[in-house]
Structures are given as structure tokens and as C-alpha cells.
Symmetry: C2
């Protein structure tokens, strides 16, 4: 199959190509994609070759065609519904983020166990539901992905409830490694890792 | 220098190694690191070799030593101060996130241009300041990194103010590509990209 590290770069290529599309660029070479994506041309060509994309020697790739193929590879042909578990500061910020729909996702359900929050209507016609109703909520809202924004101390139990409800894809923000069946895909959000990359550059470029 | 893609994996290795440390693991092989980090053993060895880390053939790496070296490579010997610009839902969620300090960072200043927010005391002894005072705030708070959580429409202007204030490292959440001098490092936070990786797996593993 496609190597994990390649899979992780595909959404980034897609984002860059959509930007090129908006600039009415028709053809792009691997060097340009690499510059926009922060990698090198050889890596771009290698990654895209796993998708059967080989470009035209000396010219590059057709932008529109590559966007369509990448979106198909990433399973983005239809909007996927998301549940957010944990309507705290971060959960509310993510639920309110309108930018997800352009990228193929819609938050259609929000769950919490705080009695003060359950039953509260929020934007998008959503009402915060009790975690007790998670499995029903998955069916009612055709939930395919879950975003976990609860405290670390409860994250494992929450993730198990998510999986028991039939969800196979989790974006976890809680700083707690989840132990789940191998057919469930978990992405660990880690903003501190991004800050550490920046810290590397401060040391490397400025001796700070 | 160290290749960009390697730099991006180092914080992930560090996170996994710190977890091993907490489990009192003394020695770890590249295969184990790879499993925890979601890559392959050859990639781990290659990445670590750029740091002059070659492990002991047949044994692996000393966990404590590797943690120290990775932290040093990432410039994490002293805590770095962060300014958050845009104290909206996401900015407030990030400012309140206590987990940054364990990873080497402290939010010491918050800026906004909303008159209702400027002057508001928030947690950690911080008072929201006016964006007009950004350059002074950088000096007063020894700011080395900026997190941008303002709307996309103002992100470029905000980033220019950040750079003019002397900050060389930016984590940008606004869905707007920033055009800045080449000595400034920008990391683009992109949660939708994580969701798209999950979408790939739903298609690949379940035909969804
Ligand atoms: N990964 C990152 O970079 C990053 C950044 C910021 C926050 N975080 C993490 O994200 C999580 C949320 O942060 P926050 O600032 O929004 O916290 P918060 O305390 O504001 O929100 C947590 C929410 O979870 C709810 N909750 C608690 N237990 C629950 C349960 N059993 N079932 C359902 N809901 C439950 C609470 O009622 C609350 O609404 C934390 O784990 C935090 O450490 C991670
Ligand atoms: N990258 C991602 O995955 C992701 C996820 C969620 C949100 N976002 C983005 O993060 C940003 C913040 O989202 P949010 O939901 O917190 O928005 P928000 O509207 O709640 O907050 C924006 C804040 O910026 C302030 N602001 C506006 N103009 C300013 C200026 N010129 N100077 C200083 N402050 C200014 C506002 O007063 C407000 O407090 C948006 O760009 C949003 O699209 C990105």
C-alpha cells in the first residue's frame, strides 16, 4: 500500500494544489509543489507515483487532474460527519471552525457529560448531547470520525466508548496515548510538536 | 543540515521516548521507536543518524541519553516564551492549555484588538494587551514565538507586525498562507489535514 509517511503528506499537497488552482495555474512541476509543501521535488514525485501519478517529463502535473485524484485518494468525494466529544474551550473552538466544510468535513454532533452543557443549543443547529447517547448519536448523525477534546484522565474511556459506537477514525487532542483495536486509526494532535520544530529553527538559525 | 522532514519527526520521537522513560525503559531499538512514532525502523535510524546518534548494533539506543540529545537539538534547554495573537475561542483554548510547559513553552503574553478584551485579566497572571503594544510586549516578555489565531482576513497584516516586533517563529492557525521574509519560520497548523488522513484510512480500510 501507500507508505504512512506518504499518506501524511498527501493532504498538504492537496492544499497547495488547491491554492494553485485558485491562482489559475494549469500545470505545475514537482519543484514548485515541493516549495509550497516544504519538502523536496524527489519526495513529491515519489509520493505521487504511489498514486499512479507520474507527470509529464519536463512539464509536470496537470493541477486540476491532480486535485481530483488526490481528493479521491483521500476519500473526500462526499462530506464526512464528525462528532466532537468534550465541549470545553478547545471543543467549542473546533466546532465553531467553519473552515472544515471546505475540506470535506461537517461537525454534526457534540457530546459532553457536564449537565450544564447537555441540552445546550450551539451553532449549526446542534444541541450538545449526553455521552450516554453516543452510540445512538453515531447512527442518527451518520458519524464517521470523532474528535476527542476531553481531559487526559478520561480520554482512554471516552475513546473506548467511541469505538464501541462503531467509529473507526479518531483525532485525539488529549495528551494521552490511546490503546485501541488495530483497525481504528488514531491521529494524535500535538501542537507542542509544531512549537518544538519552531524551537529547532530558532536554535539552528539564530543560536537562540 | 538536517533535512526538513527529519526535523518534523524529531518532536514525535522525543514524545515517544519520554513516554518510554516514564515506563522506566532503559534501552530501545529503532523498531520500537518506529512502532510508537508510526514510521519504520530504517527511517528512525536514518533520522537519528543526522544527530550523530547511531545506537549500538543489536541493542539500540539509551533512552535517557537520546531524550537529552533530542531536547538539545530541538533547543528545549530553556523554556521559550510565547505570545498568542487573537484571544478568540481558539486563542483562549490554547492559552489555557497547561500542557505546553512540560514540552518547553510558556504563554506569557496575549494580544487582541477587541476593546472588550484588551485589559482583561486571564489565567497565569496575564492581561490581554492591545496589538498596538506588540513590539513593546515582545521585549517586556522576552517573546520568541508567536501563535496566530486571528481571522484569515487579517492574518498577513498581523504576521507582518509580529515579524516587525522581532519574532522569527510563527505557528499560524489562520487558513491563510503567510508571505514573510525567508529567515522567519512559519508552521501552518492544519487540523483538516489530520482529518483527511483519517478519511484516507476510512476509504482504504473500510471502503467508506
Ligand atoms: N493536543 C494539543 O495540542 C492540545 C491543545 C489544547 C488542549 N489540549 C487538550 O485538549 C483537551 C481539552 O482541552 P480544553 O482546554 O478544551 O479543556 P476543557 O476542560 O475546557 O474541556 C474539557 C471538556 O470535556 C468535558 N468532559 C470531561 N469529562 C468528560 C466525559 N467523561 N465525557 C464527555 N465529556 C467530558 C468537560 O465537561 C469539558 O466540557 C485536554 O485534554 C487538553 O489537554 C490539547
Ligand atoms: N488551523 C485550524 O485547523 C483551525 C482550527 C480552528 C480555527 N482556525 C482558525 O483560527 C482562527 C481563530 O479562530 P477562532 O474560532 O478562535 O476565531 P474567533 O473569531 O473566535 O477569534 C478571533 C480573535 O481574533 C481577534 N482579532 C481580529 N482581528 C484582530 C487584529 N487585527 N489584531 C488582533 N486580534 C484580532 C478577534 O478580536 C478575536 O478575539 C481563525 O482564522 C480560524 O479560521 C484554524
Amino acid at each position: 500500500g501507500v507508505p504512512p509517511l506518504t499518506i501524511q503528506r498527501l493532504p498538504l499537497y492537496l492544499r497547495c494544489l488547491i491554492q494553485l488552482q485558485s491562482q489559475r495555474v494549469d500545470v505545475v512541476n514537482s519543484q514548485r509543489i515541493a516549495e509550497l509543501a516544504g519538502t523536496n521535488a524527489a519526495q513529491v514525485r515519489k509520493d505521487l507515483s504511489y498514486l499512479g501519478e507520474f507527470g509529464v517529463r519536463g512539464l509536470g502535473y496537470e493541477v486540476d487532474s491532480l486535485v481530483v485524484h488526490l481528493a479521491r485518494w483521500l476519500g473526500l468525494q462526499h462530506t464526512r460527519n464528525i462528532a466532537i466529544i468534550g465541549y470545553g474551550r478547545l471543543g467549542a473552538a473546533l466546532q465553531g471552525y467553519g473552515g472544515l466544510q471546505d475540506r470535506g468535513f461537517l461537525v454534526t454532533a457534540v457530546f459532553d457529560n457536564d449537565a450544564e452543557k447537555v441540552g445546550m443549543p450551539i451553532s449549526g443547529g446542534i444541541v450538545v448531547e449526553s455521552m450516554d447517547r453516543f452510540a445512538e448519536g453515531v447512527k442518527e448523525n451518520n458519524i464517521e470520525l470523532a474528535i476527542i477534546t476531553v481531559p487526559a484522565s478520561v480520554a482512554q474511556g471516552i475513546a473506548e466508548t467511541v469505538v464501541a459506537g462503531g467509529v473507526k477514525a479518531i483525532l485525539n487532542f488529549a495528551p494521552q496515548r490511546l490503546e485501541l483495536p488495530s483497525d481504528v486509526t488514531v491521529r494524535q494532535a500535538d501542537l507542542a510538536a509544531e512549537l518544538q520544530i519552531l524551537s529547532y529553527h530558532l536554535r539552528e538559525d539564530f543560536g537562540l
